[in-house]
Subunit: 170 residues, 2 copies
C-alpha cells in the first residue's frame, strides 16, 4: 500500500484541493488505483478555481520553471519538455513564445499540453490549432492535458518510491 | 443608433472585458443587434476569469445586492428576484440559503439562475437538480443563465434610454 504526502501530490498536479483529496483517498493498492482516484477527483470534484490554480503551477512551454515550484515538479517539467527543447531552433522557440503570449492573452491562462515526447513543431502546430477555440472549450481541453501530465507524474512518483524503498538508498 | 457607457454595460454583465468589448462594438442600430453582439462577446471572447468576475458581481439568490454593486444592477436584481421573494416562506428561504452555501462550497462560485418570474420552489428545485453536475458542466450552465440575465437587462437598458429620450424628462 502506497501513501504519499500532500506536497508529493501537489507536484503531480498543482491544485491544493486535488492534493488534499488524494491524501484523503489514500492509501492506494497500486498506481492504477491512484490514477483512477486522481481522474475522479480532477474531473468531478476540483472546481474551476482549482483548475486555474493547477494551470498556473506550470512553467510556460519552452521556459524554465520558476524557483517557487516544488523541486520534483520542476525536475519532471524539464524531463517532459526535453524532446521539445532538443528539437527547438532559435526561430521556432521564438515563435512558440509569441504564440504562448497570444494564447495567454486570449484565454487568461498558459497554454497547457502534455509535452512528453513531442517536438517543438508538433507543440506549435497544436497551439495554433487550439487557438481559435471558444474559451470554455479550451478550458476543458487544457484540463484534459493537465490530467495526462498528472498521470505520467503519478507513475513517476510511485515508481521512484518503490525503487528507493527496495534499494533502501533513500 | 444607441451608444452606452462601459458602466452601463457593466450593470448588465459584471465582466470588465464584456463591458469594454460592448463599447468597442457599439453603436447598435437596435437592441437586437446589441443582444447578438453581447452573445458573441460573452461566449467567444470573454475568458473564464471574466465569467467568474461576472458571476461574483451577483448577490446570492434570496439576498440583497451588496452596496458596491452598480445602482442599476442592484435595482434590476431586486426586480428579477421579486417573484421568488413574494413566494418565499421563512423555511423555503432558509433551505435556499443552505443549498446556496452547499453549491458555493462545491463549485467555488454562487448559484446563478435567471430568476425572473420564477418562484422560490422552482429555483430551489433547479438548484438541487444542478448540484450533482461536474464543475465544468455547471460552469457552462451558469454562463448560459448569466447570458439570459444580460439579455433581459440590455432590453431594460435600451428601453429606459429610449423612453427618457422621447419624454425628455431625464
Amino acid at each position: 500500500m502506497e501513501r504519499y504526502e500532500e506536497e508529493e501530490y501537489l507536484a503531480c498536479c498543482g491544485s491544493t484541493q486535488f492534493a488534499k483529496e488524494m491524501v484523503k483517498a489514500s492509501p492506494f493498492a497500486s498506481v492504477h488505483e491512484a490514477v483512477a482516484a486522481a481522474r475522479d477527483i480532477w474531473f468531478n470534484k476540483v472546481d474551476v478555481n482549482g483548475w486555474l490554480e493547477a494551470f498556473s503551477a506550470h512553467p510556460q512551454i519552452g521556459q524554465s520553471p520558476s524557483p517557487n515550484h516544488p523541486a520534483a515538479a520542476a525536475q519532471w517539467s524539464k524531463g517532459e519538455q526535453s524532446t521539445a527543447l532538443a528539437t527547438a531552433t532559435t526561430s521556432t522557440l521564438q515563435e512558440l513564445l509569441d504564440w504562448n503570449a497570444r494564447y495567454r492573452h486570449k484565454f487568461g491562462f498558459i497554454f497547457l499540453i502534455c509535452a512528453s515526447g513531442r517536438s517543438t513543431a508538433e507543440i506549435l502546430a497544436d497551439l495554433k490549432k487550439r487557438y481559435p477555440n471558444r474559451p470554455i472549450v479550451e478550458f476543458e481541453i487544457a484540463a484534459q492535458e493537465q490530467m495526462k501530465v498528472t498521470e505520467l507524474r503519478l507513475v513517476k512518483l510511485f515508481s521512484s518510491k518503490i525503487k528507493s524503498t527496495s534499494k533502501g538508498d533513500q
